[in-house]
């Protein structure tokens, strides 16, 4: 089972960008969200960019968009003003931006990119690994919830009851994975003080600089307006 937010390998422009560029684009979009009084344009822009440059139509992730409708409505109803609507759309734009990032970025590319930027290998690998295994935990959580339903449980304590099997399962799996990684020399490079190699060549390309420039221009334009 594949979740909506999971990375799918493609050759779109967004997929080919360096993960660090995409982080900068996400940060830029967040800045735009707070700088503008019309965040719906940011939301529309994010949807369009993911569609045109990422090759992922909004219909592919419509359940996420459908979830945002009650969120925006609830925030609007709390404030009962244009401000409320702006806050709701800001949250929606941020949600779509993060979704676009996770759908177009391979977690292990992100790990390599972070490592290239000076983040210690163990930490960058840990981040990549956590992102890679999040969908597995998500799937396991839905199995456990179904197991509760199979025993007739409908109460509000689902999260508390799910925690034990989910936590123990994650611990067991992480122990096994750590062992499997050590068997394949995970610590060898650090212990022997040799340079680790990577199969993928993650580096800034002209495309990344162009994306940086466009984002910067959009932010400046928003500031001037």
């Amino acid at each position: 089972m594949k979740f909506i937010y999971q990375f799918t390998s493609r050759h779109s422009l967004l997929h080919r960008l360096d993960p660090r560029t995409k982080i900068a684009l996400v940060v830029g979009t967040l800045a735009l969200c707070f700088l503008t009084n019309s965040p719906w344009w940011v939301l529309a822009g994010a949807l369009l960019v993911i569609w045109v440059f990422g090759g992922i139509s909004p219909f592919r992730y419509w359940p996420v968009l459908a979830l945002m409708v009650p969120l925006v409505t609830a925030v609007f109803l709390v404030h009962r003003s244009r401000d409320g609507l702006e806050v709701g759309f800001r949250l929606a734009a941020m949600g779509v931006t993060f979704l676009g990032f996770s759908m177009t970025t391979d977690p292990f590319d992100l790990g390599i990119a972070l490592n290239r930027s000076g983040v210690p290998y163990r930490i960058s690998f840990l981040i990549a690994f956590a992102l890679r295994f999040f969908p597995l935990l998500h799937e396991e959580m839905s199995i456990i919830r179904n197991a509760l339903r199979a025993r007739g449980y409908q109460g509000l304590g689902v999260i508390a009851l799910t925690a034990l099997p989910l936590g123990l399962g994650a611990l067991r799996r992480s122990q096994k994975i750590a062992l499997a990684m050590e068997i394949r020399g995970f610590s060898y490079a650090e212990e022997m003080k040799i340079k680790r190699t990577t199969l993928k060549d993650i580096r800034f390309r002209p495309l990344d600089f162009a994306a940086f420039g466009l984002m910067l221009a959009a932010t400046l334009l928003m500031l001037l307006l």
Partner: protein, 262 residues
Amino acid sequence: MIRLDHVSFQYGAVRALHEVTHEFSKGDFVSIIGRNGSGKTTLARCMAGFLRPQTGSIDIDGRHVHRMRPRQRVQVIGYVFQNPDHQIFCETVEEEVLFGLQNVGVRGEAARQRTVQILERLELDTKRELHPFRLARGDRQRLAIASVAVLQPSVLLVDEPTTGQDPVRAREIMDILRDMNRQNGTTVIVVTHAMELVAEYTASIVAMSAGRIVLSGSAREVFHHAAESGKPVISLPPIVKLGMKLQMNPVPLTVDEFVRAQ
């Protein structure tokens, strides 16, 4: 009787079930077999009501599975997941078995009696005070079965119960399921890859491939058709292959049958 009528299900763009139509008889002991990704577990989860098919319907004794209330559904159809560790929520073995009963409103002496009976039957009565995670894997699998079987559903779906079990434990689990089928008349449907056990224990087989039921019938019929078609939809048990090579008629399903035919 379980009736599947043109059931289709897809995960995003991936179609897992294509227009599946089939009837499972009441009191049957059936195996659903097929390669990984053939749609076995998806079909079982649709039948248990966890997944709602995009098209088609599933009825049990004339009642639409997806229209039943959850508490009503668990007393009609039970589902045991592959990994027992996903089904452990309580501090002791006894509490684990009681958990489902309390959820459906069985309390007091009735709940205690049913718990004692199922623990004795599955030989877990001496371990009732232990934490479930302290049990061996085979015992945890039996506890998972006990926790669902105690609700006395008329249909019990079991997803790959013998995976990761040694041959002795695997046989014990199949013995338990056969006893439940014979003694209580429970319809047992097992999703499995263990072809030797399928041949030995189950009365009928449903073979799946690419989201469709490609063969169904008695074990002998299905193995015969699978061998005749020449398509590697299922892997025949070695004793069946040997019987076919020796052109035995009927083809033996177990070693005992083979020996008796000699």
